[in-house]
């Protein structure tokens, strides 16, 4: 990072955050870690809908088609020139390698040409950092429940960028299970919001789906058994010529997913004694999960924090937020930064 200009003071730090890890091309400009100057997202959801899920090659092509436009819009809305930026933060993993590479290549070129440092951001860390956009004075340690289409993690945060993964899914991610069940129920993609919508009119006690808790004390998750149970229930009914109430199925399944997420989170609270919990990731927008966790934590003198729904799904603001804290730590990436599709939290 030889010639990049790095400010001596941390006042008025402007960071452009870029996110292309899955099916959203997104960019945002963030000032001083909390002042969002712009927030642009170009979603590919409608393009992937007809395939029933994200197609990697199509996602990569769409990212390239929209990347430049999204970044330029973010700069225009922020009323800034590239020369006003202090760093470029970009998601380099985990995610789809072809998609990540569009953002990484573009971000590097922008940083190099603007003469500012490049910051490589872990997508999972970015989801967690979405919370700091709205709760900048959150104290450590805290726990984070990260739930999305690709991930289900319980994480202990000892400080900024100091993580310990306490538990993770052993098979499907919670969002992935929601997607699959939604597809089978004919609710469409993406599954989380669709299941939530259908569940609103259903009875959550209509079906009793298994809640896999794994061995005692484990903070890992497993959603595949629960997902299979829903599919089996459907198949059995179909063979008997019965039609089942979709809202009841959706509500019961959603309840089962939320029950497991809540129980495991409370177990983590119990094991660590940490009572501040952050919710992060696309599934963090789920209303039932939010209200249940909020209530349960309150009963234990704890508190739940979560970002507004538009900051739960993939976006550039959360990348800029993570980038801001890396900037403060002067943790910059070399020009050789590559996409790491299987990047972990360490």
């Amino acid at each position: 990072m030889s010639d990049a200009k790095i400010k001596c003071s941390d006042a008025h730090i402007c960071i452009l955050g870029i996110e292309t890890s899955c099916d959203e091309t997104a960019a945002a400009v963030l000032r001083n870690g909390r002042e969002l100057l712009s927030h642009v997202i170009s979603s590919q959801i409608t393009i992937h809908q007809k395939y029933g899920g994200v197609v990697p090659e199509i996602a990569s092509r769409e990212h390239l088609l929209h990347f430049q436009q999204v970044v330029e819009k973010a700069m225009t809305e922020a009323k800034l020139d590239y020369g006003d930026l202090d760093a470029i933060a970009v998601t380099y993993g985990p995610g789809l390698v072809g998609s990540l590479l569009v953002g990484v290549a573009g971000a590097k070129a922008i940083a190099y040409a603007a003469g500012v440092p490049l910051i490589g951001v872990n997508h999972l860390e970015a989801h967690i950092c979405a919370n700091f956009l709205v709760h900048p004075h959150l104290a450590f340690p805290c726990l984070a429940l990260l739930v999305s289409g690709g991930h289900t993690h319980l994480i202990l945060l000892r400080g900024q960028a100091d993580y310990e993964v306490l538990g993770r899914t052993r098979d499907d991610a919670a969002g992935e299970a929601l997607d699959k069940v939604a597809r089978t129920l004919g609710l469409g993609y993406p599954g989380g919001p669709q299941v939530q919508k259908a569940a609103a009119a259903g009875n959550a006690a209509a079906f009793d789906f298994p809640r896999a808790m794994l061995e005692p004390g484990s903070l890992d998750f497993s959603f595949s058994g629960m997902k299979s149970a829903v599919l089996n229930t459907l198949n059995t009914a179909r063979m008997k010529g019965l039609s089942l109430c979709v809202p009841d199925l959706a509500a019961s399944f959603q309840q089962a997913v939320v029950d497991v997420l809540v129980r495991k989170t409370l177990l983590a609270v119990e094991q660590t004694g940490v009572k501040r919990v952050l919710l992060a990731g696309g599934v963090a927008a789920n209303e039932l999960l939010r209200t249940t966790l909020t209530r349960e934590l309150k009963e234990r003198d704890g508190r739940l924090f979560f970002p507004p729904p538009q900051l739960c799904t993939d976006n550039g603001a959360m990348v800029a937020s993570a980038g801001y804290y890396r900037y403060l730590a002067r943790d910059f990436a070399p020009w050789t930064l590559n996409a790491v599709p299987g990047l972990n939290l360490t």
């Binding site: 395939y51 090659e57 590239y82 390698v97 290549a105 573009g106 070129a109 922008i110």
Partner: protein, 247 residues
């Protein structure tokens, strides 16, 4: 007019700095590393060695395909990023057009072949005219080696083969076309920044605005990737639902 040429459409990272079509500096990397890891460091070294700054550039050119899908995207995304910050025009050329410059001035037909995987090549045919112009004899396409070689057998050779598929298919082409085939070695026939720089300079002089390849610094139009092929999912979807796919 000073400009930068970028070609990452094959396993080679090719860069060139040029002025009015004259090659000033060139970077060529054919290593195991990825474009993502090599590109900016190579550009940085090249600029330093040439004593040029990014602010000296008047435009940026990129090879926009066909070739590796990922490579095409890395090249274009990088070129766009540089052009946006520097507020420079961006220009695109095709990989096969650029490769034709490897056979500049030859009397034979030039046949660039790029590895398209799935036992296919991206290929086209060119001829250098006596007045120094390059004529495309066939449009770029994805074609099986057997089909292209069969077509060439029915035409007058010889043919000069260039491109990253030459090494892998050397024996096959020699066997099929015998003395009709001239296969240039890697050091003469792999994609290079220098070839892209020549193709770009010609395009620049031929009034790029009218060729639909131009992008202003403000960017109303973009340099479009040229994949030739649809994605697998689109092909399958079109097959299942009838019709020729919707793009």
């Amino acid at each position: 007019m000073k400009y930068l040429a970028i070609d990452t459409t094959t396993k080679v990272s090719g860069l060139a700095l040029a002025e009015d079509g004259r090659l000033v500096g060139e970077g060529f990397l054919h290593t195991a590393k990825t474009h993502s890891e090599r590109l900016i460091p190579l550009l940085d070294q090249l600029l330093r060695a040439a004593g040029w700054g990014l602010r000296d550039l008047n435009f940026i050119g990129v090879v926009r395909g066909p070739g590796s899908f990922t490579g095409i995207r890395i090249g274009i995304a990088s070129a766009q990023g540089l052009a946006a910050v520097l507020k420079l025009p961006l220009l695109g050329v095709l990989s096969l057009d650029a490769l034709a410059w490897a056979g500049w001035g030859r009397k034979e037909e030039i046949v660039p072949i790029l590895d398209a995987r799935k036992n296919e090549w991206y290929a086209a045919r060119y001829r250098w005219l006596a007045d120094g112009r390059l004529r495309a004899l066939s449009p770029p396409r994805a074609v099986s080696p057997a089909v292209l070689v069969r077509e060439l057998k029915g035409m007058d050779g010889p043919f000069v083969f260039v491109g990253d598929a030459v090494e892998k298919y050397r024996d096959f082409v020699c066997r099929e076309l015998g003395e009709q085939a001239i296969l240039l070695p890697d050091y003469l026939g792999l994609p290079r920044g220098a070839f892209a720089a020549q193709a770009l300079w010609r395009k620049w002089r031929e009034n790029p605005r009218t060729r639909g390849e131009w992008v202003s610094g403000e960017g109303e139009e973009r340099v479009a990737p040229y994949y030739i092929r649809l994605s697998e999912a689109e092909v399958n979807w079109a097959r299942k639902h009838g019709g020729g796919g919707d793009g």
